[in-house]
């Protein structure tokens, strides 16, 4: 069975997508960006997309492209016979004996079989004329579904699994080699309020949903490959059913959580010149100190990813949750791929974020648990922000926590501290 590519599927289910540079389209980053954009566009203009007609399959074949139906066998019992009898089709139920000569209707000539031509067009998704309204009513077989299935099960599962394993391996190796990043100067005993209560609530609300959705989503995506051999068909059916229900239920809550993150964390996340040098120094991982404001470049990229991937996942998720509102199932297939690819990337980076925010770095978790950070931690990791806020440092950690909480209450309750 021919291996298919994302670019091939893109040309099939999004006919308007054309480029002369095949490498750029088939490359993963480019394909991902385009898929993200398409997932957003799909929700806004399904009707316009539905009006496009499918390309002529013969033309596609002549261009050497993978075509829907190209990898699918013809219907059962429809067997091409040697060109000796004038007919190329054995009818269902007929056995060994040669088929009698058959008059070819229409304008078919020579070796061309009307049945084969018709089947060819059906399998290539050629839309016929019907009186029933609806974008897909004239299509007998939506062949792109076969390609979607192959891409999801072969490429997304394969490369997505490799990505997640690579991230986990890298984190374990990093921990074994580098160990936990300590506060070099030790704890000063002084703390500074860092995150408001509203910010922490939004963060943990999103994080809770992220974990629930990631776990259930990974089971849905990788379960057939990983869990089925372990649990067996019955056990896996139970787990898969539960995961799907949970995923569908928690999914819609993720969009408001992401939007809350956007509103509450956008201040301080704008790019600055200092971010470039932070990136060049890899955040100080290899020795040299990297200056940063309230958020370093890594945190800003994570913030950006959270918003872009979070919105893309949510929009594509809504497309999958409410298929009645889309014009064609090809949109659901595209949304499914966009959803899966974006989610795997989000989870992979999220694992790194969770590691560095807890086990990987001393003093980091407190920022989101109590809302305060040690001044030495702030000096080492966010020196520019520390210089601006060192006047707020205090030894009374309880009071600092209350002040951070009060600031959060101020954001939520309209009271400015």
């Amino acid at each position: 069975m021919a291996r298919l590519s994302l670019s091939a599927l893109g040309r099939r289910i999004a006919p308007g997508w054309r480029t002369n540079d095949r490498r750029s389209v088939s490359s993963w980053p480019g394909a991902i960006v385009v898929l993200m954009a398409l997932a957003v566009v799909l929700a806004s203009a399904p009707a316009a997309h539905a009006q496009q007609t499918l390309p002529d399959p013969d033309q596609i074949k002549s261009q050497g492209m993978a075509t829907p139906g190209g990898s699918v066998r013809p219907p059962a019992n429809a067997v091409n016979l040697p060109d000796t009898s004038g007919s190329s089709v054995r009818r269902p139920g007929e056995t060994g004996r040669p088929a009698p000569a058959m008059t070819v209707p229409g304008n078919a000539v020579g070796n061309e079989s009307v049945t084969e031509s018709l089947w060819d067009r059906v399998r290539h998704g050629q839309r016929g004329a019907v009186v029933v309204p609806g974008a897909e009513q004239g299509v007998l077989i939506q062949s792109a579904g076969e390609e979607w299935r192959l891409i999801r099960n072969d490429q997304v599962v394969h490369y997505g699994g490799m990505l997640l394993l690579a991230v986990l391996t890298a984190i374990v190796l990093f921990y074994l080699i580098r160990g936990r990043i300590k506060i070099e100067g030790g704890r000063s005993g002084l703390v500074i309020p860092r995150f408001t209560l509203a910010q922490r609530i939004a963060h943990w609300f999103a994080a809770t949903l992220f974990v629930l959705l990631a776990l259930s989503g990974l089971i849905i995506l990788f379960g057939k490959s990983v869990l089925l051999p372990v649990l067996g068909p019955t056990g896996f059916a139970v787990v898969a059913s539960a995961s799907m229900q949970g995923h569908n239920l928690f999914g819609p809550l993720f969009l408001p959580a992401v939007l809350a993150i956007l509103v509450l964390f956008i201040k301080g996340n704008a790019p600055r010149a200092v971010d470039v040098s932070w990136l060049f120094k890899a955040g100080g991982l290899f020795g040299s100190h990297a200056s940063a404001g309230k958020y370093n470049a890594g945190q800003k990229l994570w913030f950006l990813m959270t918003i872009i991937l979070g919105v893309a996942i949510s929009v594509s998720g809504f497309v999958l949750l409410f298929p009645d509102f889309i014009a064609e199932r090809s949109q659901a297939q595209l949304a499914n791929l966009a959803h899966g690819i974006a989610a795997v990337i989000f989870i992979a980076v999220g694992i790194g974020h969770a590691y560095i925010g807890s086990l990987g770095m001393e003093g980091a978790f407190e920022a989101m648990s109590t809302g305060t950070v040690d001044t030495n931690w702030a000096k080492e990791h966010h020196d520019i922000w520390y210089a601006e806020h060192k006047g707020q440092a205090m030894a009374d950690t309880g009071r600092a926590e209350v002040e951070a909480g009060a600031a959060g209450d101020g954001v939520m309750h309209g009271v400015r501290p």
């Binding site: 609530i201 943990w204 139970v238 539960a242 229900q245 239920l249 809302g371 209450d409």
Partner: protein
């Protein structure tokens, strides 16, 4: 195992729940208190204060909207969502008819979209309330194991219920029922009892202060 969960364990949990809740309510109502020997303020009554307290404590009042908006919204999201799920979710109505009241008595069942909305509201409210409990410096200090256990049990019950939503596997249904039974057994002995006593406590407080001429 499934037969045990749906049979003897269910009846045990139901018994503990009913007897426990009744015992707590009766104990609360019959609790001895010193008699209030003071004269009631003119125009004030305990009954009026009770009604006023029940109403006022159910909505932001006294200029407290800003300070209580978060709890007002998330609290109602969770409690209303959960109540609707318990009483009107189609599988629950059928279960209550089958096990408790018979098929002759019944009430409308939620359509699927109604279930989804109620479940989303309940989950969002519960997670937001619990996250606040974990992050607010004061509430964090006030919370004890009972608070955390109550929240986790409730969350697990809701979660297992939603995981069994497809109603295609007896095991998932039994797992949900098992968690429900654990919650029912824990319920009377925990602060979860407030589901039955919150009106009584508000009325009592309102009556005490109403007699003195003001509402807290």
């Amino acid at each position: 195992m499934i037969q045990f969960i749906e049979g003897p364990l269910w009846y045990l949990a139901l018994t503990v729940f009913v007897v426990g809740v009744a015992w707590r309510i009766i104990a609360l109502v019959t609790m001895k208190r010193p008699a209030d020997l003071s004269e009631a303020r003119s125009g004030s009554s305990g009954a009026g204060g009770a009604v006023k307290a029940i109403i006022q404590h159910s909505v932001p009042h006294g200029g407290n909207l800003g300070r209580t908006l978060y709890h007002f919204v998330t609290g109602y999201l969770f409690h209303v969502g959960l109540l609707v799920l318990i009483l009107f979710a189609a599988p629950h109505v059928e279960f209550i008819q089958e096990r408790l009241i018979g098929a002759d008595i019944g009430w409308p069942k939620l359509p699927r979209w109604g279930f989804i909305i109620a479940a989303e509201a309940a989950f969002a409210g519960l997670i937001l309330l619990y996250v606040h409990r974990l992050t607010d410096p004061v509430k964090k200090q006030l919370s004890d194991i009972d608070d955390h256990l109550g929240v986790w049990l409730t969350f697990i019950v809701m979660l297992t219920g939603c995981l069994a939503l497809q109603e295609a596997h007896a095991g998932l249904r039994a797992f949900h029922l098992l968690t429900v039974e654990a919650l029912m057994i824990y319920f009377p002995f925990s602060r979860l009892i407030h589901a039955f006593t919150f009106l009584l406590s508000r009325a009592r407080t309102g009556a005490t202060y109403g007699r003195r001429g003001f509402a807290p």
